[in-house]
Amino acid sequence: MRPYLLKGHERPLTQVKYNREGDLLVSCAKNLQPCLWSSEDGRRIGTYEGHNGAIWTCDITWDSDRLITGSADQTIRIWDLPTGKELFQFRHREPCRAVKLSAGERFLAATTDAFIESPPAIHVYKFAENVEDQTSTPLNTWTVPKGRVTRVFWTDCNRKLITSHDYGMIRRWDVETGQLIEEKQIHEDAIQDMQMSPDETHVITASLDKTARLVDIESFEVLKTYKTGRFVQSAAVSPLFDHVVCGGGQDASQVTTTAAQAGGFEARFFHKIFQEEFGRVRGHFGPINTIAFHPSGRSFTTGGEDGYVRLHHLDLDYFTTKFF
């Protein structure tokens, strides 16, 4: 497998995301321009110019016509995805950590970090079909006890939100009232990433406690645990097979103090059900910060602390070998 090495950012990556069909790929990093790539051949289509701080997160609409980005410059912006034109800005007084469109795309959930006097908060906006009608007043805003809200997802037919937090907790909220319905300590350390399974019945969480876990979203029960012995920064569920892939590696601040091999910057493939590792893909020379499966499950993309995006098309072997 020869990956495409996408050099569009010179700063650590924060999130990579495919659109629904999987022909496009958006990468966000700590530099100011998110990039749009062709996921087939890794060609760069364009960048989105305008942000003034690290981009923490993004989301893409169903029809791939809009891109929503959340940034440390305290704005959430809506872009015209094909042209790169900025359409709208939500201004906050805090860095924005996670954004997610609801099913049907009438609403947008966003989370902000604690900043000076503001506690961390979750905001729900109306997402207008026509951008002229877009307003920046949230429908609902509520605060969260402490720490970052690292990811947010809509569940139960847009009635509830689930969020992951940087002290190992996941929470369920009522969208209309902003009330906390349920919370559970899933990890012993921060959850860095949470991704929804294709059938939306479970999520995979990646944590600094060196494990990734599969969590049932109905009961918040931990179904499976994948131990890597490293910080896990991101994990994704394959839409094609019963596989999950985890990325991470030793703390970026210590990379230079030990031998390169010690880092463990590989993407690791686990069998989703048996929890056993069966393969690794090397390449990054810094921790993997974000990882995403192509919607077809035939390729995957990793973004590293080293500033590179690696686009891997899986070999024939991967599809024909019976691993277990």
Binding site: D23, D199, T201
Partner: protein, 716 residues
């Protein structure tokens, strides 16, 4: 505007359910007291002991009482006080205002006794044994002063007036302490400490896994140590150490030695030594050493050794900065724990068991003695004394208890000497580094005493290049060969030698030299024949499994960042360990003796890994030789058993996978409705757009006019 934030008030607001005073600052750890009944979830072994049975120290340990003082009237109080002060100063350092002499309010006379508080408890202990006071101190004709401990009053007051015989404790059938040796699959055990957890595991190399035999959280406060024959496991605690054994690791005994740092078992597990060093009271004094020797089974203290650290840190027992090197006492080999010895200045003190007295009531005098080692198999003692003036350096082998010199060797210009006994006690190798004539470099030679042969012949040999640095030397545990790691470059060489040829004639012969190896540690199999050449630390864990019989490499492998190589006591398996000195990759890899990776386990914060030793084989050597000869017959039965075991193991794995698969299917089934609901919901919301999953890439040419300009064409 940015307001000044008080981080403490913020923290208090964020954690309202924390106790008052949170976040804590400037607190004394000792002042923290847990609420009644709260044990932080850590169960104490002493929960079953009744509170009133526990004897507590009242805190007056350094207080003593002087009795039989004259009863003086008030006006002579000061005069008497001065007398008391003088007497008390003979006992040790008295604390400021440490003397109190009560006055009887009614008679206005002193009561005839005084309390004295000394600086240390040790001083009080010493004072009570002081010769001048032990039979009473004659102050004048009528007053003979006696001392007693303040705490004793309380103790004797509590003695009931009537004698009631003690109930003998009911006899409890002890567990079989050797049960692990009777394991049906012949597995060995190891102890592993990671995080707060200590576990004892069976190493199942055949099936490539480890089965936990016993585990417990907070079992020990620093480390665990197996007894030399594996019967017991010792754990270390603030109050002392405890030994555990049997299939369920019940506590066999406890030994009270506050803040115990290090321990050492005698080779046959009869005795245990414990060591602490105490900080000096004033900076001028040196550390105070306390070594207790206990009977393991009875739990009885047999003898104490106490003194300043520099009295114990002598010669090879002294570390680089004058600290004590453990073990201070070395045990003689053999079937009984008969003797142990320690180095003193110009002498070796040998003690005799079980009465723990000095052997022959005097130490073995040896001028300038620097180091000594006992033979592992019999009471033979090899000692090295350094060169002094005209006296050459000497290496002597003594027979104990007769103190007969079996053999000695004198040498000149010696810079350093190291003693290596063969584990079976057949040879003693002495590595001698001697100065060259210019005194700028050293040459290394080996003097090998063949102790078991008649008249103890001495073999001398040198490496081809005797100026080379010798990094390591190791005897083959069973056999006549040894390995030497030598070389000045970054990649040293390893040479193998034998003491005997095929006709059993004595003489050092070179067998093979392996050049240029990434190796800094050599580790022989406990059975001999095989050796692991390991490059730890800066070689990043390179491993070479080498067969010395065939003189060929069986396998090379790598356990990245490995810090330790440990053979199991049977020589069947090798464990390589990345311990917590490395931040990452902590874990254990288990290899067959031939270098096949059997399994690996990852454990965060892996502090310790140690194999449980086995006791020496009870088979006579002839029987062992016979088994080795007819190995095929003996193995047949076990091969079949192994085969079955492996099949069973495979079946188990498959079964487990099937179970996991069924469980997952059940989960997916139970969530089917929800998934369908979500899908329908989306289908409804997106309408016709929902089905559009196909996409095609079209290349579209777009022409865009950016600018139009007219410039005159200028053709020169």
């Amino acid at each position: 505007m940015v307001q000044d934030i008080d981080p403490f008030s913020v923290a208090r607001d964020l954690f309202p359910d924390m106790p008052p005073g949170f976040p804590f600052e400037n607190f004394e750890l000792e002042e923290l007291i847990l609420p009644d009944g709260d044990d932080l979830g850590i169960k104490s072994d002493d929960d079953d002991i009744k509170e009133e049975d526990v004897q507590t120290q009242s805190g007056f340990g350094s207080c003593i009482v002087i009795q039989n003082l004259p009863k003086a009237p008030e006006e002579k109080y000061e005069k008497l006080m001065n007398v008391v002060r003088t007497i008390a100063s003979k006992l040790g350092d008295v604390r400021d205002n440490g003397i109190f002499m009560p006055l009887d309010e009614a008679t206005k006379l002193t009561k005839g006794f005084a309390f004295v508080e000394l600086a240390r408890k040790e001083d009080a202990d010493a004072a009570l044994l002081d010769e001048r006071f032990i039979n009473g101190y004659q102050l004048d004709k009528n007053h003979k002063l006696t001392l007693c401990r303040f705490d004793d009053f309380d103790k004797y007051a509590k003695v009931p007036d009537e004698y009631s015989p003690l109930e003998p404790a009911p006899y409890k059938q002890p567990e079989n302490l050797h049960s692990w040796l009777a394991d049906k699959l012949g597995r060995d055990q190891y102890a592993m400490r990671h995080g707060d957890n200590t576990m004892v595991c069976f190493n199942d190399g055949k099936r490539g896994r480890a089965d936990v035999a016993f585990q417990r959280e907070y079992w020990t406060e620093s480390f665990v140590q197996w007894s030399p024959q594996g019967t017991m496991l010792a754990t270390m605690h603030r109050q002392g150490m405890a030994v555990w054994g049997g299939p369920s690791f019940t506590r066999l005994n406890r030994f009270a030695h506050p803040n115990v740092r290090l321990i050492d078992f005698s080779p046959n597990e009869k005795y245990i030594l414990s060591y602490t060093s105490h900080e000096p009271v004033s900076a001028r004094d040196s550390f105070h050493v306390l070594i207790n020797i206990w009977d393991v089974r009875a739990g009885k203290l047999l003898r104490k050794f106490e003194g300043p650290a520099d009295e114990y840190a002598v010669g090879s027992s002294a570390g680089p900065n004058g600290a004590l090197k453990w073990p201070v006492f070395k045990w003689a080999g053999g079937r009984d724990d008969l003797y142990f010895a320690r180095l003193g200045r110009g002498k070796i003190s040998i003690f005799e068991c079980p009465h723990m007295g000095l052997l022959g009531k005097e130490s073995l005098k040896l001028d300038g003695v620097q180091d000594f080692e006992w033979s592992p198999s019999e009471p033979l003692l090899a000692a090295y004394s350094a060169e002094q003036g005209n006296q050459p350096a000497r290496i002597v082998v003594y027979k104990i208890p007769e103190r007969i010199e079996l053999r000695q060797k004198n040498m000149l210009n010696v810079s350093d000497v190291k003693l290596y006994w063969h584990p079976q006690g057949t040879y003693l190798a002495v590595k001698v580094e001697a100065w060259t004539k210019t005194k700028k470099s050293t040459t290394t030679s080996f003097q090998i005493f063949c102790v078991k042969d008649k008249d103890v012949p001495l073999e001398v040999f040198e490496l081809k290049n005797n100026k080379e640095r010798v990094i390591n030397f190791a005897w083959e545990p069973k056999g006549h060969r040894f390995a030497v790691v030598h070389g000045d470059g970054p990649r040293p060489s390893i040479s193998f030698f034998t003491m005997r040829d095929d006709k059993n004639r004595l003489g050092v012969r070179e067998l093979k030299v392996l050049d240029n190896r990434a190796c800094n540690v050599i580790s022989w199999s406990p059975q001999g024949r095989n050796i692991v050449l390991a490059g730890l630390k800066n070689f990043n864990g390179q491993l070479e499994f080498f067969s010395v019989d065939e003189m060929e490499t069986m396998a090379t492998a790598e356990h990245f960042m490995a810090t330790d190589v440990e053979w199991d006591p049977t020589g069947r398996y090798v464990a390589t360990v990345v311990s917590h000195v490395q931040q990452m990759e902590n874990g254990v890899n288990m290899w067959s003796f031939g270098g096949r990776l059997l399994y690996s386990t990852q454990r965060d914060k892996l502090y310790q890994f140690s194999w449980r030793p086995r006791m020496p084989s009870l088979l006579p050597p002839e029987k062992e030789a016979e088994i080795a000869k007819n190995l095929k017959q003996y193995t047949k039965r076990y091969d079949e058993e192994d085969e079955q075991l492996l099949m069973q193991a495979d079946a188990d794995v498959l079964q487990e996978r099937q179970r996991a698969l069924d469980e997952w299917k059940a989960f997916v089934e139970s969530r089917r409705n929800y998934a369908a609901l979500q899908l329908d919901f989306k289908r409804e919301l997106y309408g016709a757009r929902f089905a559009e999953k196909e996409f095609s890439i079209q290349k579209v040419m777009v022409e865009q006019v950016v600018d139009v300009k007219e410039e005159p064409y200028n053709n020169k």
